[in-house]
């Protein structure tokens, strides 16, 4: 084959066979579902009346913004995804979507989600959404993830912001309650992801991602998990004595926090073999339930209060 023919082949346009499902996968739907849920809670507990159409618009924009962050993350992390068993089948490493297509998709959705939220709802919420996308895609993905073992500690701020954005959308301002919602997710992130990293250490090591178990070892990670869990449980209960959330939330938070602490202690104590892996998996699984339940209680209380006003 001549040089000219080779060059012609290299220039031949690539015809995409990406399906709609591949583009939906770029949005990280499972992460998006948690973002939608936490944002919904932030929106529902905000004071005052917020028109349902504006509420729907806000949640949609936050969801699309979160999806855009996911697409930008997959664009930048395609090399890491290709060597990790958990992510090797994502659309870019699997060759179904090119990095350029994912980048264009992520940037387009980022632009439209921020502008739509800013124009239709308010610019505080729009600005916060833009900051969230920037923090996740640039600060976490491009900088922290590959350079420090504190990657998910600081990067966790991006995942904690959706309820704050939602509160800002509903009220046009910020106050203590959304900050508390932020802090709960912020301190939940390290024990959750380090529990995952404990049973995926080889994956992260192969991809050269400096997760705490890779850099500092499993035992140091177990101690950090326990310490962060203690802080998390204290922060999650604090809104009750501080008077922001009521006793139903406070007692539930205590009970759920007790579960988190027991599992974190098990992770700390079980350091060898199958028991160690099982403990890490149990904490990882329960941490998802913990966060979901805490937020669900807040949501339920608002719904019950609204129903009570309606019928009594």
């Amino acid at each position: 084959m001549s040089i000219v023919e080779n060059h012609a082949l290299a220039l031949a346009p690539r015809i995409s066979e990406a399906s709609v499902a591949d583009y939906i996968a770029l949005l990280k739907p499972r992460v998006m579902s948690l973002v939608i849920f936490t944002a919904l809670v932030g929106l529902m507990i905000a004071p005052g009346h917020f028109h349902p159409v504006l509420a729907f618009t806000s949640i949609l924009c936050i969801a699309v913004g979160a999806g855009a962050s996911g697409a930008l993350n997959m664009w930048y992390d395609a090399d890491i995804d290709a060597v990790m068993s958990r992510t090797v089948n994502r659309p870019i490493p699997a060759g179904r979507v090119t990095p350029q297509e994912a980048l264009a998709f992520g940037l387009t959705l980022s632009f439209f989600s921020v502008m739509t939220l800013g124009i239709l709802v308010n610019w505080l919420a729009g600005g916060l959404l833009a900051f969230t996308i920037f923090f996740y895609a640039v600060i976490y993905t491009m900088w922290l993830k590959r350079h420090t073992a504190q990657n998910i500690v600081i990067g966790g701020a991006a995942g904690a912001l959706p309820p704050v954005v939602a509160w800002a959308a509903a009220t046009g301002s910020l106050s203590a309650e959304p900050i508390l919602l932020f802090l709960i997710i912020f301190f939940w992130t390290p024990p959750h992801f380090w529990a995952l990293a404990l049973f995926r250490t080889d994956d992260y090591a192969r991809a050269n991602v400096p997760m705490l178990p890779v850099v500092a070892g499993a035992d140091a990670t177990r101690l950090q998990i326990l310490l962060y869990t203690v802080v998390l449980v204290a922060i999650a209960v604090a809104p009750w004595p501080l008077g922001y959330f009521d006793a139903v939330y406070g007692l539930s938070s205590l009970a759920l926090g007790g579960g988190m602490l027991v599992l974190a202690v098990q992770v700390y104590r079980n350091r060898e073999g199958a028991a160690a892996l099982r403990s890490a998996r149990q904490l990882f699984g329960f941490s998802i339930l913990y966060l979901f339940a805490l937020y669900a209680i807040l949501l339920l209380e608002v719904v019950v209060a609204a129903a009570a006003r309606l019928f009594w």
């Binding site: 346009p13 399906s19 618009t57 949609l60 800013g118 610019w123």
Partner: protein, 53 residues
Amino acid sequence: MDKEQPPGIVLTEAQKKRQRERSIAIALALGVLVVLFFAVTIVKGAGVLVRPM
């Protein structure tokens, strides 16, 4: 001059199907955006021009 033009890029059936699906998805997304702007304009009325910072 009557020389036949080369066919250029010919899409396979699979490529055509995926392209059509992506086009429909983009059309739906744009449709949702239009409906959203229309609905919010109706909801806000004259207040649509008030955009607090």
